[in-house]
């Protein structure tokens, strides 16, 4: 039965450093690497985009368009009522290309393509353009809350009745330049880390990643429904004197859930020792819940919580936590409620709650 105000996740499309584009597989064969950066396994984009358009398209745009196509097909949706994206840094490759040429050529002999594509809303715009979709089209660009902001807007559009099917996604690309800058800022492991060892070793820094994950959110349940999106909240822990477990119980209360109901906590653990504390604090208060993690599979990036929500949605549908993601197996026979908890650099924290339909 369709609940008023309930929001259903009816389709998924995820392009990531793992083989995630084919929904018949669920992290059963992990792409294990020794590195401090992960790159997406890219599909043959010609399966999604015509060659003449593809030729000039920037990489993040290709990633975004392909994953959105997979998502729409998965949900059997032809035309969404809204397209909402989140990206921390946007089309970096094009931004760097334009900036580099501008400096090297001293502002002369520049061509417009990379400038045009550097605009942050290019992914959502290209999706609309290729679908000929004239509907609502927004792009959020707020660091570790970029994807969460897109989700929030999607929930608003669905609840106020302005949309019944929303295509929402989060995407970021990693470039050599951005990897190097963030490495100098101390974000990544100095030595290459093994995919399966990252979360077990203690060291400074995580591994860099990238990805694009889309969700078809709907006000109606369908035969493709993965989960019910029950709630989402962003918070800044530094601005709040309240403890994490307390912030969680306040959040859960608003969606009528008790902490003991959480069967699985999907956490943004990223192998960086100083980032681990909030996750420990939170999971320490959830004794009944299993724990799973995703960033050793996706790498860390501003919109990686989209990978987290993808994984949680798959777990809900398949009722199985992939071995590669388990930190602590869930005790419950049936996984009914999953909490996704993520933070980016301890600045942008978020809770997302999903339930079994």
């Amino acid at each position: 039965m369709t609940n008023l105000n309930a929001i259903y996740i009816n389709g998924l499309g995820n392009l990531s450093p793992q083989k995630t584009t084919d929904s018949s597989h669920f992290l059963d064969e992990v792409n294990r690497v020794q590195s401090n950066r992960l790159a997406c396994i890219e599909p043959n984009y010609r399966d999604f985009i015509s060659p003449d358009i593809l030729r000039r398209m920037g990489r993040l745009i290709k990633m975004g368009v392909a994953s959105s196509r997979i998502c729409l097909a998965d949900a059997g949706c032809v035309m969404p009522d809204a397209i909402i994206t989140g990206t921390g840094l946007g089309c970096l490759e094009d931004t760097e290309k334009f900036l580099t040429t501008l400096i090297r050529n001293n502002e002369e002999l520049l061509t417009p393509t990379s400038f045009i594509q550097s605009t942050h809303n290019t992914v959502s715009a290209q999706i609309a353009l290729l679908l000929k979709c004239h509907n609502y089209n927004f792009t959020y660009v707020h660091r570790g809350w970029s994807f969460e902001s897109a989700l929030l807007d999607a929930m608003i559009q669905l609840r106020n009745g302005k949309a019944s099917k929303v295509l929402a996604g989060g995407m970021d690309e990693l470039t050599n330049g951005s990897f190097e800058i963030s490495r100098r800022l101390g974000l990544w492991r100095m030595k290459p880390a093994d995919t399966f060892e990252l979360l077990k070793t203690t060291a400074r820094g995580s591994i860099a990643g990238e990805g694009s994950a889309f969700f078809l959110l709907s006000s109606a349940q369908s035969d493709t429904t993965y989960a019910v999106l029950t709630g989402m909240n962003t918070f800044n822990r530094k601005a709040s004197p309240v403890s994490l477990p307390r912030l969680l119980s306040d959040f859960l209360e608003r969606s009528g859930t008790g902490p003991e109901e959480i069967d699985l906590a999907v956490c943004g653990l990223n192998g960086d020792t100083s980032s681990a504390r909030p996750y420990k604090e939170l999971t320490g208060s959830l004794n009944n819940a299993g724990i799973a993690a995703w960033k050793h599979l996706s790498g860390e990036y501003m919109t990686s919580s989209a990978f987290g929500l993808w994984m949680a949605s798959m777990i809900m549908k398949k009722q199985q936590v992939p071995e590669a993601a388990v930190i602590r197996p869930p005790g419950a026979k049936t996984i009914k409620t999953i909490l996704i908890y993520n933070h980016y650099l301890d600045l942008n924290h978020s809770f997302i709650l999903i339930r079994k339909p």
Binding site: I83, G88, L89, G90, F98, L99, T100, L102, I103, R104, N106, E107, E108, L110, T111, P112, F115, I116, Q117, T119, H120, N121, T122, S124, A125, Q126, A128, L129, L131, K132, C133, H134, N135, Y136, N137, F138, T139, Y140, V141, H142, R143, W145, S146, S149, L152, D153, I156, R159, N160, G177, E180, I181, R184, L185, T234, N236, A239, S240, M302, L347
Partner: protein, 404 residues
């Protein structure tokens, strides 16, 4: 009737003034902010104009009582100045029990400082001062503004090219209507950069004589910089708190042209849809619109496409319209909010500001912009358009406040 979202504060910083009074003065005296490039070194100096905010970064820091210049991009400094004015007018103070949010918008974040960082980094990736690139992302300036105003309950950033800050205002209103937040400071900021100047120049849409919106001889836009924010809250809360209400947001709409990444469709389909959605939401028939603050960039493509959409929607009764980008330049991510503030000034001071630089009607259109200041004219509803790359079209309807 649903929740009515009212405006209880606004702030603006632009090339025509450092606050609403100064901006109003320039609008009434028909003084444009478009002039020579002074902000940075560029080969375009003396050839292409810009509409710069007439304050250095050092002066902007001092204006807001800030010290550490390494922490702030120009976008942040412009944003802090405008958002503080808005918050001050609405009486927003830290530690009030109300849930207050900040939704800001921009297109290139701290690109002004990335441009300083990048030449050294290009030579050698271990060089370049990291503090200069730490302000690069679009969310950074929002974090700075929030920190300055001590906004904690919700913050986010929108970037949809030239409609960005109109969209920030829309989200703010939706969050209030949904009861997710009590008050929102919503708007945007963008600084002029070599990146954007050269980017638009490659598209060959910069008018070397300064923009001339809706003129037959128009040859492109003029890039400007600035910031503007509105404080939005529910009518009920504003009355309960005894605030002065400057106007209300009666409708808005966003639609996608889905025609081309940068060009507008010949029939202005997205523009027409956005305007129609905004009017429908406000329950306002076209004839009740007193003034249209058009997007009017001054490019061949935009003004024709927008003009055709306006003619189609309003038919033979097109209200007075003008593009105030002839004063402020095209302030990109800040444009929607800057023009929302100008629309409020139009309502509050019962006048319609003229479209500067106009001489010859466009041969494809039967409409022409207002070219002389209209005073003592009752302005009840203003339609404000903001259209961006990626076919992102947004329209707001700002209305004169009267209690129901």
């Amino acid at each position: 009737m649903g929740i009515r979202v009212v405006i209880t504060g606004y702030g603006i910083v632009s090339s025509i003034g450092m606050n609403a009074d100064e901006v109003l003065g320039s609008l009434l005296e028909e003084v444009s902010g478009i002039g020579e490039i002074t902000r940075f070194d560029t080969i375009h100096k003396g050839k292409l104009p810009l509409a710069e905010v007439k304050r250095s970064n050092a002066e902007l820091l001092e204006l807001s009582g800030l010290k550490d210049k390494r922490k702030y991009s120009r976008t942040s400094l412009l944003g802090i100045a405008a958002a503080s004015q808005a918050a001050g007018m609405a009486g927003i103070k830290p530690n009030q029990s109300l849930r207050t949010g900040l939704i800001s918008a921009n297109t290139v974040g701290g690109m002004d400082r990335t441009e300083d960082f990048y030449p050294l980094f290009l030579e050698n990736q271990s060089r370049g001062r990291l503090s200069e690139v730490a302000t690069h992302d679009c969310g950074e300036s929002t974090e700075r503004i929030a920190q300055f105003l001590d906004i904690r309950d919700f913050i986010t950033t929108i970037s949809t090219a030239c409609s960005s800050s109109a969209n920030a205002i829309m989200l703010g209103s939706e969050m209030i209507k949904a009861g997710l937040i009590d008050r929102v400071i919503a708007g945007g900021a963008d600084a002029v950069t070599r990146f954007t100047l050269n980017g638009f120049n490659t598209l060959m849409i910069l008018d070397k004589n300064g923009c001339r919106p809706f003129d037959e001889e128009r040859a492109g836009l003029t890039i400007g910089e600035g910031a503007a924010f509105l404080v939005l809250e529910s009518e009920e809360l504003a009355i309960r708190e005894g605030r002065k209400i400057a106007g209300f947001l009666s409708g808005y709409g966003n639609a996608n042209d889905a025609y081309h990444q940068t060009a507008s469709s010949p029939d202005g389909i997205g523009a027409g849809l956005a305007m129609a959605k905004a009017l429908e939401m406000g329950g306002i028939v076209p004839a009740r619109i007193s003034y249209i603050n058009v997007h009017g960039t001054g490019t061949q493509n935009n003004d024709l496409s927008e003009g055709i959409a306006v003619q189609r929607l309003f038919g033979g009764e097109v209200p007075p319209f003008s593009s105030t980008k002839s004063y402020t330049g095209h302030t990109l991510g800040a444009a929607g909010a800057i023009e929302a503030v100008i629309s409020l000034l139009s309502i509050q001071h019962s006048c319609v500001f003229p479209n500067l630089g106009w001489a010859t009607p466009m041969k494809e259109l039967y409409i022409r912009p207002v070219t002389t200041l209209l005073r003592n004219t009752d302005v009840e509803h203003v339609l404000s358009n903001s259209f961006g790359f990626g076919g992102n079209n947004s329209s707001l309807v700002l209305s004169k406040y009267n209690s129901r």
